[in-house]
C-alpha cells in the first residue's frame, strides 16, 4: 500500500517535470530578457516588495512605450528571500532563459559578491544601483560591475557632510562622537572604511555598534548608545531593523533628528509604524526620494494601474523604494538602448554589447525629461573607468507623515572616495591576479 502511494507520488512528480520542461521550451530571442531577483518574503520583504514592484512596473511601462526601438522586454521574477544560495540558484536558472539575461540585479550585497565572480564568465553585466560593493565603481578592475548613480560610500560621505553642515563646518566635527549602528553583514560593513577615513581627517570618534541580523533585538546596542551619548547616530539598517531602531531610539530618548539613515533605512515602511515617533529622523537619498508628483508616476498610473496591469497596490506607486526599483530598471534599460545605438537599433543585444552600453551611458536632462525622470534624478554619464557616473545625494527628513527634502544636493567628495576605490579595487585585483584594463580595452 505504502509502495503504491509512493509510486503514485513519483509518477505525479515525473509528470510535473514533463510539464515544466515543455513550458520552458518556447524561447523568443527577439525579446530582451531581464531576470528579476527579488525578495517578497522573509524579514526584508517590507523593503523588497516595493522595490520589486517598481522594477517590474518600469519594465511593463517600457514595453507599453514600444519597447527599446521596437524590441520588447520580457522578464521573470525569482524569489531569493535575501539568501545568497537562493540568489545564486535564481541567477543560474534565469541567466540562459529566452536568449540569455541582459543584465542582472542581485539586490543583495552578499549575492553581489557571489555574482561578481560568476557573471564575467557568463558575460552578464551586474547592475547594482546604489548598493553592492563600493570599490566596483572602478571599471578598470571591475569590468562587469555597474554601481550606477552612487554607492554606499557615496551615501556615507553625504551623511558626514550633512552632519558637518549642521554642526557648522567640518572643523566643528573635531572631538565629536558619531556612532554607526549597522546591520552585521557585508551590507552593513560597507561604509566602515569611508567613515574611518573621514574620522581620521576630521578628528571625530567613530563608534561601531553592530546589530545581529535581522535586527529585531537591539536593546544592548541602544544601551551602549545611551551610555556613550554619541552626537549623531548613523543607522545602516534594513527591513525590520530600521523600525526597531527608531522605536528603541524613542524608548531611550535619543533625539531622532540626530539620526541619519542610509537609503535602505529611508523609506516609508521604515517609519510609518512609528509615524509621529520618527518625526525629525533623517535619511540620505541617492538622487531621488518619494516622487509621487513625477511624470513617471503619472505615466505608470495612467498606462498600467488604470488598466489593472500594475504591480502591487496603487497607493505605493511613487514611494521611495518603488522609485528606486523603477530607476534601477530604467538604468538597465537605458544601457540596452545605448548598446543598440552602437550595435544596431531594433536588434537583440548580447550581454557583452549591453556591458558596453552601460559603460557609455549618457543620460542628459532632455533624455531624463522624456523618460519622466525630470526632478527625480540628475544627469548621469558613465565611462570606462567610472562605472558609477554620479555621486549626488540629498538628505530627506520624515515629518511624521511624509519624506521631505531638507538639504541641497550634496556631492560626495571625490578626493576621499577616489583613492579609497582605487586602493580597494587594486587589492581585489592583486588577490585575483587580474590586470586592470588598458585604455584600448575600452572600445570592446
Amino acid at each position: 500500500m505504502k509502495l503504491r502511494q509512493l509510486a503514485l507520488a513519483s509518477a505525479l512528480v515525473a509528470g510535473g517535470a514533463c510539464v515544466m520542461v515543455s513550458s520552458s521550451a518556447f524561447a523568443e530571442s527577439t525579446e530582451q530578457f531581464i531576470p528579476v531577483l527579488s525578495y517578497r518574503t522573509g524579514p526584508y520583504a517590507p523593503n523588497g516588495v516595493p522595490w520589486a514592484n517598481g522594477f517590474v512596473d518600469y519594465l511593463k511601462l517600457a514595453n507599453a512605450r514600444g519597447g527599446i526601438n521596437g524590441v520588447k522586454l520580457s522578464f521573470e521574477e525569482c524569489e531569493t528571500g535575501y539568501a545568497t544560495d537562493r540568489s545564486v540558484e535564481c541567477y543560474e536558472r534565469l541567466k540562459g532563459k529566452n536568449g540569455g539575461a541582459s543584465f542582472v540585479q542581485p539586490l543583495s550585497t552578499g549575492a553581489t559578491f557571489a555574482l561578481t565572480e560568476k557573471a564575467p564568465i557568463d558575460n552578464i553585466p551586474v547592475v547594482t544601483v546604489g548598493y553592492g560593493r563600493s570599490e566596483s565603481a572602478d571599471g578598470s578592475v571591475f569590468k562587469w560591475n555597474f554601481p550606477v548613480a552612487g554607492t554606499y560610500w557615496v551615501a556615507a560621505d553625504a551623511i558626514v557632510q550633512a552632519i558637518a553642515k549642521k554642526a557648522g563646518g567640518f572643523d566643528k566635527l573635531k572631538g565629536k562622537k558619531i556612532a554607526l549602528v549597522y546591520h552585521d553583514s557585508p551590507f552593513g560593513k560597507e561604509p566602515i572604511p569611508l567613515l574611518q577615513a573621514r574620522a581620521a581627517m576630521h578628528g571625530f570618534e567613530l563608534l561601531l555598534l553592530p546589530v545581529t541580523a535581522p535586527g529585531v533585538e537591539q536593546k544592548s546596542t541602544w544601551l551602549q548608545v545611551r551610555q556613550s551619548r554619541p552626537d549623531n547616530v548613523i543607522l545602516w539598517g534594513w527591513g525590520v531593523m530600521n523600525s526597531t531602531a527608531i522605536k528603541e531610539a524613542q524608548a531611550t530618548g535619543y533625539a531622532r533628528d540626530k539620526m541619519y539613515g542610509v537609503w535602505w533605512a529611508g523609506a516609508e515602511p521604515d517609519v510609518k509604524d512609528v509615524a509621529e515617533g520618527a518625526k525629525g529622523y533623517n535619511a540620505v537619498a541617492l538622487q531621488h526620494g518619494a516622487e509621487p508628483q513625477s511624470k513617471l508616476v503619472k505615466d505608470v498610473l495612467a498606462t498600467l494601474h488604470a488598466k489593472g496591469q500594475g504591480t502591487g497596490p496603487k497607493e505605493e506607486v511613487g514611494q521611495v523604494l518603488y522609485m528606486r526599483g523603477a530607476m534601477s530598471a530604467m538604468l538597465g534599460v537605458e544601457g540596452i538602448r545605448a548598446a543598440q545605438e552602437r550595435f544596431g537599433k531594433g536588434k537583440h543585444m548580447t550581454g557583452t554589447q549591453i556591458r558596453w552600453g552601460l559603460e557609455n551611458l549618457n543620460l542628459t536632462q532632455p533624455k531624463l525629461d522624456a523618460l519622466g525622470f525630470a526632478g527625480v534624478m540628475r544627469p548621469i554619464s558613465t565611462s570606462c573607468t567610472d562605472h558609477m557616473g554620479a555621486s549626488w545625494a540629498r538628505i530627506q527628513t520624515w515629518d511624521g507623515s511624509a519624506w521631505k527634502f531638507t538639504s541641497d544636493w550634496l556631492q560626495a567628495d571625490q578626493q576621499i572616495i577616489k583613492p579609497l576605490v582605487k586602493s580597494t579595487a587594486a587589492k581585489y585585483a592583486a588577490e585575483k591576479k587580474l590586470t586592470p584594463r588598458a585604455g584600448t580595452d575600452c572600445q570592446s
Binding site: 515544466m20 518574503t41 559578491f113 557571489a114 551590507f187 560597507e190 541580523a213
Partner: protein, 358 residues
Amino acid sequence: MFYRENGQFKTSYRADQQILPIAQDRVALYLLLAFAFLAVPLLASNYAFRAILIPFLIFSLAAIGVNILVGYCGQISLGSGAFMAVGAYAAYNFFVRIDGLPLIVALILGGTCSMLFGILFGLPSLRVKGLYLAVATLAAQFFSDWMFLRIQWFTNNSPSGSVSVSNLQVFGLSLESPLAKYLFCLTLLAVIALLAKNLVRGAVGREWMAIRDMDVAAAVIGIRPMFAKLSAFAVSSFIIGVAGALWGFIYLGAWEPAAFSVDQSFKLLFMVIIGGMGSIMGSFFGAAFIVLLPIFLSQFLPALASVFGVEISTAGVSHAELMVFGGLIVWFLIVEPHGLAKLWAVAKQKLRLWPFPH
C-alpha cells in the same frame, strides 16, 4: 524474480564481509557510478550542474558527516553549520595565505581545522546528552558566527567581511566549467562516502552504534565513551568541514558568515532525520529531498497553476513552496518515521519476493 541472492555462495570471509554481498546490488552500484560519471555529463545542462547537481553533491557529503555523528553515534548536533563555516574559512585562509597551495590540500587542511573545532565542541558530549548536547553544540554555531563576523584576520581584512576565491585548479586542470566542478565534487563525494561506509561497518562504527544504543552498557563491555564520542565528532566534523569548503569554493565562489547560519545546521539535521538516521544511503535521500524539492516546487507550482489558467505571484509561489515542503516533511515523518532509507529497505525486501509475496 531478478533480485535475490539464491545461488550466490560465499566461499571466503572476504566475500561474505564485502559492502554489498548481493551481486545484483554490486551491478546496480556500478551502473549508478557509471551513470553519474559518464552519462550525467552528457545529459545535464549547465543549469542542472550549477544549481541542482553540485549543491546536491555537496549537501550529500555534509549529510554523511552529520549522519555519522547524529545517526551512528547518537549525539544530536546543531553545530553543523559552524563546522561547515570553519572548514570553508580555514580552507580559504590556507588557500590565500600560502601561495600556490593546491586546492585539494587546502580542502583537507580546512577539514582538519574543522575536525579540531569539532573535537573542542564535542567535549561537552562527555558530560551531557540528548537535547542538552544539542544546546551545547548550538554554542558552536553562535561562536562561529561571532568569530567570522568580528575577527578580521579570518576574512583576510576584507572591509565587508565577504571573502571570495576564483581561478581554482586541480592538477593543472581549470575548475571553471560546471562540468569540471561537478566531476570534482562527485569524485570527492564517492571517495569520502566509501571511506565513511567502511568506517561505520568496522570496529569504530560498532563502537559508535553501541554508544548510541546504550552508553552505560557500551562502557560496561569495554568501549571507551570518550574515544568513541570524540572520534565520531572528529570524523563527522572533518567531513562536514570539507563539505563547507566545497560549498564556499565551488558553489558560492564568494561568501559571508550568513551562508553558514543556524538555518544550515537545521537543514542538515532535517536531511539526516528525513533521509534516515544511521544510514549512509539515507544521507543521499535526505540531501536530495531538502535540496531538490524547494527548487522543484518553485518551478513546478507556477507551471501547474498555468495549466489551470491561474497565475500566482512570486511571493505566492514562495509561500506555497514553504507550505507544501512543510506538509511533505510531516507526511513523510508520519508515514515512515525511520526515514526514506527505511522505505528503500522495504522496497528491496519486497523486490526479493516479487512477484510472489506471501
